[in-house]
């Protein structure tokens, strides 16, 4: 933790690695956002990009208008909640594919609308470009990631978290035992949208230019978030973090060695993990821990018998 804070002060890592680290923070935030709704609550959200992209746009324009970055990020993240309510309240009442379809349709619709409104690249004022310092982006990203991780930890421990997991395990049983499943699903979507909004805020602060508006609303963001969660382990606190680290490192290696084909590799990796390692990396860690404990118990028993 202390190391993470001191890194940019003590060692000059160079812009390349710093950029990767800020990207990593954005991925972690997106992954945690998807983890809340997809991992804990078990509702498949295919529209993270809509929340992310709207927050990017709002943060960007507020910040360029002269409002402090922290205020802009918070306001933008809160405004994503409006989107979440519009899409969540009709679709979450029903079971089945409706939530996934609704969120996917929302992401596509907003992408189309934004593409038509902003058909040129979006730019920043010159003095903002001159004042650009990657360290501030790093600190903002790090602070938000730490706050979000702590918040997710406490959410999981609270009554809310228990209700969410109950909904994932068996919605009908949860309903019968007195959990208002619809209310909790909407709350979890709101939290998820807020975290995606924070990720968008960091991204808007990190990137000053947007050449194509469609890029920030693209399917890539949704896919990266889902991928990080699934590879790391859905429904765990640290799984999405490990998944994001894994993704950023692999993405860096593959984009250097494979060029254009690197994105395809991720698709195959994703499917393989889905089929053969449904618990993700955290599942592997748990298996290893179990194995260690049984092994140590066994060896303990053996020594006991010998004596």
């Amino acid at each position: 933790m202390l190391v993470m804070i001191l890194v940019p002060l003590l060692a000059n890592l160079g812009t390349g690695i710093m950029n990767q680290l800020v990207t990593l923070f954005i991925y972690i935030l997106l992954a945690q956002s998807w983890n809340i709704i997809g991992g804990y609550t078990g509702q498949i959200n295919l529209g993270i990009a809509a929340f992310f992209g709207c927050s990017v746009m709002i943060t960007h324009f507020m910040w360029v208008a002269g409002i402090p970055i922290i205020v802009s990020v918070l306001v933008a993240s809160l405004s994503t909640i409006i989107l979440a309510i519009i899409i969540g309240i009709p679709t979450l009442r029903l079971k089945g594919m409706y939530f996934a379809v609704g969120t996917l349709a929302l992401a596509q619709a907003i992408q189309v609308i934004m593409q038509n409104i902003f058909n040129r690249s979006i730019q920043t004022r010159g003095d903002y470009v001159q004042a650009y310092n990657i360290n501030w982006r790093y600190y903002l990203g790090l602070a938000i990631v730490v706050i979000v991780l702590v918040a997710v930890y406490f959410i999981r421990k609270s009554k809310l978290g228990i209700a969410l997991v109950a909904i994932r395990e068996d919605e009908q049983a949860a309903q019968v035992t007195g959990v208002n499943t619809f209310k909790y699903k909407v709350i979890s979507l709101l939290i998820s949208a807020f975290i995606a909004g924070l990720a968008g805020g960091v991204y808007a602060y990190f990137r000053l230019y947007f050449y194509y508006t469609s890029d920030i609303f693209g399917l890539t963001w949704t896919f990266s978030a889902i991928m990080a969660v699934v590879i790391g382990g859905a429904g765990t606190l640290l799984g999405p973090v490990f998944g994001s680290i894994f993704l950023v490192i692999l993405g860096y290696i593959f984009s250097l060695t494979l060029g254009q084909a690197n994105l395809i590799v991720f698709g195959f990796l994703f499917i393989l993990v889905m089929l053969f390692m449904p618990q993700g990396l955290m599942g592997g860690v748990n298996l290893f821990r179990q194995w260690i404990s049984t092994w140590s118990r066994k060896s303990h028993n053996e020594t006991g018998e010998n004596i």
């Binding site: 078990g42 498949i44 295919l46 519009i86 899409i87 009709p90 679709t91 029903l94 079971k95 089945g96 594919m97 409706y98 996934a100 379809v101 609704g102 996917l104 349709a105 929302l106 596509q108 619709a109 189309v112 609308i113 038509n116 919605e171 399917l219 896919f223 889902i226 699934v230 254009q260 084909a261 994105l263 395809i264 991720f266 698709g267 195959f268 994703f270 499917i271 889905m274 089929l275």
Partner: protein, 295 residues
């Protein structure tokens, strides 16, 4: 008046295509309770196969349909064997639905990027020599390709209906849809039934791709919007209602086409979203289903 009729005609032609796209998607969803997000990418793949057949071997695009459909049928068999049959181990329908959604989302990712790699991100279309011809119906003009597309969509729906209701295989499919375990006990080979119906569904997307590449154009990554339209059509028709896919598609097509009279044609996608939200708010069982779905 002539304007309105023209808009209606265009809506019907586009809508029949929506129905055709929804047919393949709805088939997998109805029979296996799997959601195939990759259906849109399969459509684009089918379109590109047709594009290759036309540009390299100089086929007529409509004569290439059997080849495209056969190729896509094989793709469907592979899809089922590799991705869907491992998911049958999950007992609950919801679990299967979520897992298949995620897995096919990975397939979308692979296919979209593969298509960009092979065919570049440009949009492609195939225009046969008679492609520019139009006929006049009461002052409104309609292209030959549009008419052929409409005919093919209705033909496909009719053939599918006959297969499902009149043949022995269709009986197996309906039995496996109602209760897979009971069907298996009474001697239906459920795995084989699923396998072949998955192949048929993907082959239908090949047909849709051919129609799209001749009347419109295909772009890598453009499958998502077709898929969303299919999902909205399935919601409109009611997901357990295979017979009404084409009518529901036509309703959506006419609404979208009529909306171009008032606002820019670029906003088709938001309109589909609004229709989707209205339907699930007020009539979640679909327009044509009589009974209320109990979940």
């Amino acid at each position: 008046m002539a304007d309105a009729f023209q808009v209606l005609l265009i809506g019907v032609v586009v809508g029949a295509l929506y129905g055709l796209v929804a047919l393949g998607f709805g088939l997998i969803m109805r029979i296996m309770k799997f959601i195939n997000i990759a259906q849109g990418s399969f459509i684009i793949l089918g379109g590109f196969i047709c594009y290759w057949l036309v540009t390299i071997w100089h086929f007529d695009p409509y004569l290439s349909i059997p080849i495209v459909m056969l190729a896509m049928f094989i793709v469907g068999l592979i899809l089922y064997r590799l991705l869907f049959s491992p998911l049958l181990k999950y007992p609950q329908a919801e679990m299967r639905l979520d897992k298949s959604l995620l897995i096919t989302f990975g397939v979308v990712w692979i296919l979209d990027n593969l298509e960009i790699l092979i065919w570049t991100p440009n949009s492609r279309s195939v225009i046969p020599s008679y492609g520019y011809g139009t006929i006049n119906i009461f002052g409104a003009s309609l292209s030959y390709t549009g008419i052929i597309g409409l005919g093919l969509a209705i033909l496909a729906a009719a053939v599918l209906h006959i297969i499902l209701t009149r043949t022995y295989f269709g009986k197996h499919v309906r039995a496996a849809t109602e209760d897979a375990v009971a069907a298996g006990l009474s001697g239906v080979n459920v795995q084989r039934t699923y396998l072949i119906s998955c192949g048929i569904a993907v082959a239908l997307s090949g047909l849709a791709g051919t129609v799209i590449v001749t009347s419109y154009s295909v772009t890598p990554g453009g499958g998502m919007s077709w898929l969303l339209t299919a999902m909205v059509v399935v919601t409109l028709a009611g997901s357990d209602n295979m017979n009404f896919m084409i009518p529901a598609g036509i309703i959506l097509g006419v609404i979208q086409s009529a909306s171009t009279l008032f606002i820019s044609p670029a906003y088709q996608q938001p309109i589909a979203l609004i229709i989707f939200l209205i339907i699930i708010l007020f009539r979640p069982q679909g327009l044509f289903s009589k009974r209320v779905r109990v979940h």
